[in-house]
Symmetry: C2
Subunit: 383 residues, 2 copies
């Protein structure tokens, strides 16, 4: 345990977050979340709505811990609405469905990713690109949910969740449910730009940074048949990169090694969320190559050299998670190719330590919360 961030004692009466429209019909879900920027994660109770016509109620089994969860709960991007239950890498089983739900039934293994709704009407939504909804997608936690009484969405560090069927994914039974959870964010976030760039057999893919996103990028690119180069600042990661399937590993601070990689890569997936100079990576790209930056540094990036972009018709691009249809495609692709995340399963009492270890980069490669370790609300109420 990191000094200065002790696990808080369980609250005698956990705070009840009502995210339902009609409290009478709600189900109480045990959860962990933040009550302020410096509260750490503490036990909470979430009132989930009774499934409406199009809703799917899910008993959550596992939820991945994403670095965004740390930023969000600690208020590092913006002040979120507290109390806040994070978690958008959710895998579980259907418990109940609304009257209009045909495609899911109790017992189905399902998942929920970063989105639980969108406007469903704009050009992006109509193209199945709900993540780019022009009116703003509805995130799985901390978002105002207009179709549910403007309640604030609460995420997957919780025993259950209720989500519109349009935003529920089928998780193939062949995937380990805990290792599949990070696919819902880390997986789709790296899969989507690789597909958008149309990566195929024999293409050369570079991956910058070997964390939660980076390790998924390596596995998925390999499964697509690419030749994969990992760029890392630390020689200590060479073996790990090769273990994940990387064909080449380049020490990015070694100018000679970077020069040797000149014009060798078709597309780079850059997962580093701290400011860093991209120009050495552009030099490794071939004609018409692209670098997709997926991480969002809090400070300015060093300037990109337009000359590098011009001389090889390169693109410096961004990409945001993926749409629902593409997320399903990714899950099916991962099942077909036996791809899942390398994980460390933690219990609720380890969440705060896990956050500190994520900040320190001390995880290979994703923590996943086993929600069976969350205290049942009924037990708490009796305490």
């Amino acid at each position: 345990m990191t000094p200065g961030r002790p696990v808080p004692p369980p609250l005698a009466k956990p705070i009840l977050i009502d995210s339902s429209e009609s409290p009478a019909a709600t189900t109480l879900a045990a959860a962990f979340g933040a009550t302020s920027a410096d509260s750490g994660l503490v036990p909470l109770t979430v009132a989930r709505r009774a499934p409406k016509e199009d809703d799917v109620e899910i008993a959550i089994e596992f939820c991945g811990l994403c670095h965004s969860d740390v930023h969000a709960t600690r208020g590092e991007w913006r002040v979120p609405p507290y109390p806040l239950v994070p978690g958008h890498e959710i895998v579980g089983r259907v418990t109940r469905v609304g009257a209009a739900v045909q495609d899911f039934a109790p017992g189905d293994r399902v998942g929920v990713g970063c989105l639980v709704d969108s406007c469903r009407e704009c050009e992006s939504c109509l193209e199945g690109l709900e993540q780019y909804c022009e009116r703003g997608n509805i995130g799985t936690y901390g978002a105002i949910d207009p179709r549910n009484g403007d309640s604030i969405t609460q995420g997957g560090y919780s025993t259950s969740v209720v989500v519109d069927r349009r935003f529920v994914l089928r998780v193939p039974e062949s995937l380990d449910p805990a290792a599949a959870a990070p696919l819902l964010c880390a997986g789709i976030t790296t899969y989507s730009p690789l597909r958008y760039f149309d990566v195929e057999e024999g293409d050369s893919v570079g991956v910058v940074g070997l964390g939660g996103l980076g390790h998924m990028a390596v596995k998925i690119a390999k499964a697509m048949g690419a030749d994969v180069t990992v760029f890392t600042t630390s020689e200590s990661k060479f073996d790990a990169a090769r273990g994940l399937g990387a064909d080449h590993v380049v020490l990015s601070k070694d100018a000679d090694a970077m020069e040797a990689a000149n014009r060798s890569i078709d597309v780079i997936i850059d997962t580093v969320a701290a400011p860093h100079d991209l120009n050495p990576y552009f030099r490794t790209l071939r004609l018409d190559g692209a670098l997709f930056q997926l991480g969002l540094p809090a400070d300015d990036m060093p300037p990109v050299s337009p000359g590098l972009l011009i001389r090889r018709r390169l693109a410096y691009a961004g990409s945001l998670i993926g749409g629902i249809e593409e997320t399903q495609e990714m899950l099916d692709f991962c099942a077909e190719h036996g791809v899942a995340s390398d994980i460390e399963v933690v219990g609720a009492d380890q969440l705060n330590e896990a956050y500190d270890r994520m900040v320190a980069g001390d995880v290979k490669y994703r923590f996943v919360l086993d929600t069976s370790t969350l205290q049942e609300p009924s037990e708490r109420a009796d305490a």
Copy 2:
């Protein structure tokens, strides 16, 4: 005439630049070029090689004045090999062809752009993307020409030039030869990214900067059927932009006008060669939009916000002139659509003044040298 940069007196014996392999068989061409970074443009004589098997000899009629010519002759990018005859927007008529030349005959109206050779073997060259030759393309002036005895190429401010048939373009007779000259650089440089982005009827194209490149971008995008928005820092350019065919003009320093243009553009052609903040332009792009930067500022650009790229899957891209096949396609397209440059024809004695006016942005929109005003070498030798 700008004070401090007087037209130099004609040299009694103009410097002879020998760009031929076998001086015995050369033709002497009258030319204007620089003998040092601060010489201004002075009369020179270039020895052009006798046409080899694959060569086309061209009597130059017109040559556009590109801003690169100013940078190159003044040594602002690098110290070029002096003496240097600039000019890569060349239009003229074929005078002689080599024995292996089937596709050109004396009298044909032809053009030469920024390239006179490339390795012809690398992947880029084999794809008709000679501008991206992996071994470095051979520029029309100031480049070492390995297939011609490592002589230094000399450009189009000259009465003639000899170029391999593979790098000679057909200029349709329906185009005014003087107004067609700038198509060989300004035209293809803007046409190529528009084609690469696959602009078609109804797409929305933004153009930043209304100079030589910008005005061609407006005309070509309109001819492609696009809805065109010009972004300018000066209200004084509104009428000119509309006169060129722009559907909308936005004052880029007007935050409200920029906000009103939010999410309205598919692709932006940015022709400004000074450092400027691109982030306000990214905000005007739609999902999957791209901004192509064509100008090459001497200093760092302000940092691009990765969040903007991520939230709409945007690309910040570069593009370099165009390949030979595409340049021919562009010339044919311009002939079909009646597109050419707005020009001001100048004589040799106005070149230095024209350079100063280009630096001051005082030209609508391209100067073109009438090479009939160049003194004949024979006249000079007699002087």
